[in-house]
Point group: C2
Chain length 255, copies 2
């Protein structure tokens, strides 16, 4: 679990504070080993400012420490904006990235006229009136196997833009004055969730025709999706591995 | 309303980012006036890292702008961690500080074994088992008019340490794994709430006898209260002015 606000994303980079970088450093401190360092394999990247309540990573630890000892040891060394929620020993052939069968993302969209000071780093701000019926129509169109070329940011390294969204839902939280969106799929392209949320929000607020998602699937042109919603509202909610969800056991071919 | 995390408290200080400093600068920009600048009078200070959901301040604006125009103008200029929730025109003799008849503070204490990354700036962390009956016993002892000399940090400029607490309550939020404490009184000394929460938490966790509050009132010795809970868990929840609460209309003598 991490608050992505003060990280330059997940992936290790020289001179940048990243999740992978901090975790790699702590794990190697714990192992007190000379090179070669222990390598951390995450389920995938998250961008700068994106949060995770359930990111998954694996590494090969050279000593026989109990999961409990690793859990306590790491948490006592990690900065306050990162926390290990669970440590499990896995079989040697488990791979945190290649064995992923699905991911669930959550997006918090705050609807106030002005961004709430306490929510600025934890929601995306959407100040336009929004019609949940239109939102749900747009989400329904996103579900299924599609070519998401209109929903991927430049810089994506994926070989294919075909992905399957198993479910997409939204609910209005009146008390918080937020819309909460959830996407569950077999994989997501670079910025795909944030671009989808932008399109869905624009449809919900009448800036796009209600069926514009179908047109965007056709045109395969990212420029027509335009808006990428802020990273601050995005949370990696769950990573699924083969067997976790009998309904959707398959994993993507290695990319 | 402000997220105190990135502020050096409320009070204006040279070369420090403070609530009063930022607000003063924006109000004067809005007035486009040469010196003397418009002065902001807050209901009172909050320390670095302390939050406010309902701080109150007044200033004399030289032009006849509508409350609505000032509300929109300021919010469009303010940084994202500050928001004006309401603007009202008041009579010339209203004073945001001297007319205060009471204040309500809220404290969020997170009980997890390790601090939650998303709560690190918004709660105080308390990792010891806590008995809510003992907590409520301690809170009941705090209610009433007392000499709070054991509960004030050095550096207080108050002439008297006598204050009246009208109500003090706590509830366990199981879902959030937090204890929420609320204090309503006619005034609070420097760090008083954070010191009280520390004593209450220590009593709740059996580190102090259940009636230790009464002893601390007697000894009038701040060193015996020791712990000051983190600013991150503290919220100024409401400021009361004469008439707001018929049960407690009186205000403190000017200090």
């Amino acid at each position: 679990m991490y608050d992505g606000t003060n990280f330059s994303g997940f992936e290790r980079q020289p001179n940048r504070r990243t999740i992978e970088g901090v975790l790699t450093q702590k794990v190697n401190v714990m192992a007190k080993l000379p090179e070669p360092p222990i390598i951390i394999y995450g389920s995938g990247r998250t961008d700068a400012g994106v949060h995770a309540v359930a990111q998954v990573a694996h590494f090969d630890f050279p000593f026989d420490l109990s999961a409990e000892a690793i859990y306590r040891g790491l948490n006592s060394m990690l900065p306050l904006d990162m926390e290990i929620t669970k440590v499990e020993k896995v079989s040697n052939d488990f791979h945190a990235r290649y064995d992923v069968s699905g991911k669930k993302y959550f997006y918090r969209m705050y609807l106030g006229e002005f961004q709430n000071p306490f929510k600025r780093n934890y929601t995306g701000h959407w100040k336009f009136p929004i019609d949940m019926e239109k939102v749900n129509h747009a989400l329904a169109d996103l579900v299924g196997e599609h070519d998401f070329s209109s929903f991927v940011a430049s810089g994506s390294t994926a070989r294919s833009n075909i992905r399957t969204i198993y479910s997409a839902s939204a609910k209005l939280d009146q008390a918080e004055n937020e819309v909460h969106l959830e996407f569950y799929g077999n994989g997501f392209l670079y910025n795909m969730v944030r671009i989808m949320v932008g399109v869905v929000a624009e449809i919900g607020s009448g800036m796009r025709p209600e069926s514009d998602v179908l047109r965007l699937f056709e045109v395969k042109d990212r420029d027509q999706a335009r808006r990428t919603m802020p990273a601050s509202g995005l949370y990696l909610k769950r990573v699924f591995y083969e067997g976790d969800d009998p309904e959707h056991p398959t994993k993507l071919p290695k990319r």
